[in-house]
Symmetry: C2
């Protein structure tokens, strides 16, 4: 885990890490949220809608940004204020590991807040999520 | 689970439901994401930062919107395209159950997409999350 203060982070700083989505994580996400939607839980249903596999919950892919902020950028002192994402392509377990990237694009001195551009790619190199987060610092 | 088609949903339609965050859900979210940030996992650390309890992962509160879309609005045919939220106040387990609200504010005929205004309140009536989702329909 990183421990950056606001003052220690510069615009342009980048991090990236791999992340695997598994059936076990899908099951745990179901247990957390109660989202029983069949597109994410029923292979034959997903196939009937033209997908080769169950579609990974978008919000599960999005949840990886919790780790991006809370572990990597800025790490310990992270307090996420805002998040905004587009789900560009469906994610499948067979297209994992995903590559998660974050880059500091702005520092707001007034609010002691950084803005991070976020991208997630599947193992074919296709972008599956893009967005940004505004993150403050726990004193 | 609801089964609305695009044509069946009108602007102004609203849903709401209660949701409990528990220590078990916090633990599962940690196992899914690997976000070991101490603000969410270490009571004495959270207290040292001025919080009375461990702070619930923002992305866990956000994950409830998966259920809002995939189970309630529009339910089965939901495919989330975009989500954008602000974390207005920290969430604590003792301030659960949360009240999750969604309201259709726009229909985009061209993209067959609805826009939902989302709000989540704690059990004291304080808003903890606000945002919106753009949701398409699986054919």
């Amino acid at each position: 885990m990183k421990h950056f203060n606001f003052e220690e982070i510069d615009v342009g700083y980048e991090v990236s890490f791999d992340y695997n989505i598994t059936d076990d994580k899908m099951q745990k996400f179901l247990e957390i949220t109660g989202d029983i939607n069949p597109l994410h839980n029923d292979l034959s249903y997903a196939k009937s809608k033209g997908y080769s596999e169950k579609v990974v919950y978008g919000m599960l892919t999005l949840a990886i940004l919790s780790t991006l902020a809370g572990v990597y950028l800025p790490g310990e002192k992270s307090l996420i204020h805002e998040v905004s994402v587009s789900f560009v392509k469906p994610v499948f377990i067979s297209n994992c590991p995903l590559l998660v990237k974050g880059k500091v694009v702005k520092k707001d001195e007034r609010f002691k807040q950084i803005e991070i551009k976020c991208s997630i790619f599947d193992n074919k190199g296709d972008k599956v999520l893009r967005g940004n987060m505004k993150i403050g610092f726990v004193d």
